[in-house]
Amino acid sequence: MIRIIKPGMYSSIQDLGRTGVEKFGQSESGAMNFRAMMLSNKMLDNPLSNPVIEMTIVGPEFEVLKDITIAVFGTEKIRLNGSIVSTASFIELKEGDHVKVGRLLDTRGYIAVDGRMNSNHILGSQSVHSQLLDIHPLRKGDVIKIDGANEASLEKKIMSKYPTVKTYKGKPVIRVMIGEDAERVKNLDSFFKESYTIQSDSNRMAIKLSGTKIEADEYDIVSDVTRLGLIQVTKDGNPMVLMNDRQTTGGYLRLGTVAKVDLPILADARLESLVYFEEISIEDARALYNEEMERIQGTYYLP
């Protein structure tokens, strides 16, 4: 059990999201970096879909009310009772401990706890939606109960936390499947050649980008269903990648869809950092996603 002293920049409970409700206008929410989220659970031998705390830029500060064990992704160290502790493996906490996560390496991080975090379920999930629903992000004073911690002692694991990321000029390359309205784009080759900057007003609804403006005669489309990773281009020529708390319908040009395997890179990417885009077929993207899920569920990330 923990009590939040400071929630950090934006911390919320997330699991793998809600299914079946997109038709109501409710997007799935859930962890933006599914890889880190699942691996943080794996470090504690939890079911990989257990809810975690998702952190943004600065993590929370909390007090431990009952002994727990945590796994932290997104930063290499935290402060435990004032002393620096590595997050390379899980961390055992005792009643009365004070934890300060501090600044993350990049934009997102995760805290998993051994056992299952207790919080309200809405429409089948504990995931908090930043714009909707009656469940809210972490606030000062919130008490989070944890059920069913592993009685048997956990085997210490130093995990390789980061996947191999394809880079170009030192910046990550994000793979994109061509979208329904891509034929309207006059300078698609520029999109796949020039760098784009992650804008500071990016959030759980969308990762906003700036760079070479996308040119098209018409940016409006008849309102249609959106999807996770959809790249929309608005009248100002700036693309944006729709993420977990997106609006479920949209009226803008659909340039493409970010491959699922690369969504974790976007979720973590530092604000104002650069990325490149590369085209990929749906078939290849599917194979990569399959491969990555097998790695997460298997032994690839283990020592």
Binding site: T19, K23, F24, G25, L132, M177, D224, N290, M293
Partner: protein, 222 residues
């Protein structure tokens, strides 16, 4: 009907036309129901103005099997006579008092005419989205078409009934928006996360007095 993959775990089923007839849209809704009721590991099915979108669990079923199953469902649709399902009409009480209808003066007509034009038609629900319970409706009288506001308002009150271009609808919750607001409904558009309408339903707006609005609003809050 065509089936096309659009991402790792999504495909769309569509006719090669931009605008569908109501009968064609009804077929899509029927297909959507069939897909939901099938044995396939479906994560989401959705319908828009002219297509059905399916998201499935790729770890439980291969894309080619999904496509094959859907092809069979489509073939069956052609054979089954689409029984004209009893038309479900959802009535939405709206108070068109000027206290709520803050953009009424933009319509260049007496308020009685605006109310008459807005309440006479039954509007078809084509899809839901944007916000939970937000309806995309068809059937607005052309005389009521009005461009969105140049600058959207930072906050439109929950229940506001508005018009933008050729669309009309209800804001199911407080939200920013550029619609022209003509009235407000006291009823909830969403109950425990589930919208009160479905694609294929019809909506009728009924004019109520401000006293009735207040009564219904109080009932809702108690």
């Amino acid at each position: 009907m065509n089936i096309k993959e659009i991402s790792e775990d999504r495909l769309v089923i569509f006719k090669d036309k931009n605008t569908l007839t109501i009968k064609e849209h009804e077929k899509l809704i029927s297909l959507m129901q069939q897909i939901e009721e099938s044995m396939m590991p479906i994560l989401n099915v959705n319908v828009s103005y002219n297509a059905v979108t399916v998201q499935w669990d790729i770890f439980k079923m291969d894309v080619n099997d999904v496509k094959e199953n859907i092809q069979t469902l489509i073939k069956n649709l052609d054979h089954i006579k689409i029984e004209t399902l009893e038309k479900k009409i959802v009535e939405i009480p709206v108070c068109y008092d000027s206290e709520f209808g803050i953009d009424q003066d933009k319509f260049d007509m007496p308020i009685e005419e605006l109310i008459e034009l807005h309440t006479k038609n039954e509007y078809r629900v084509y899809m839901l989205g944007f916000l939970p319970g937000f309806m995309y409706l068809g059937g607005l009288d052309k005389r009521l078409y009005k461009e969105r506001l140049d600058t959207p308002r930072k906050k439109i009150d929950k229940g506001s009934v508005g018009i933008a271009g050729g669309q009309t609808g209800v804001y199911p919750q407080n939200a920013p928006g550029g619609w022209n607001i003509i009235g407000r409904t006291p009823i909830e558009m969403v109950k425990e996360g589930i919208p009160i309408v479905r694609p294929g339903n019809y909506v009728k707006f009924n004019s109520i007095t401000i006293d009735e609005y207040r009564r219904l609003n109080n009932d809702k809050n108690n």
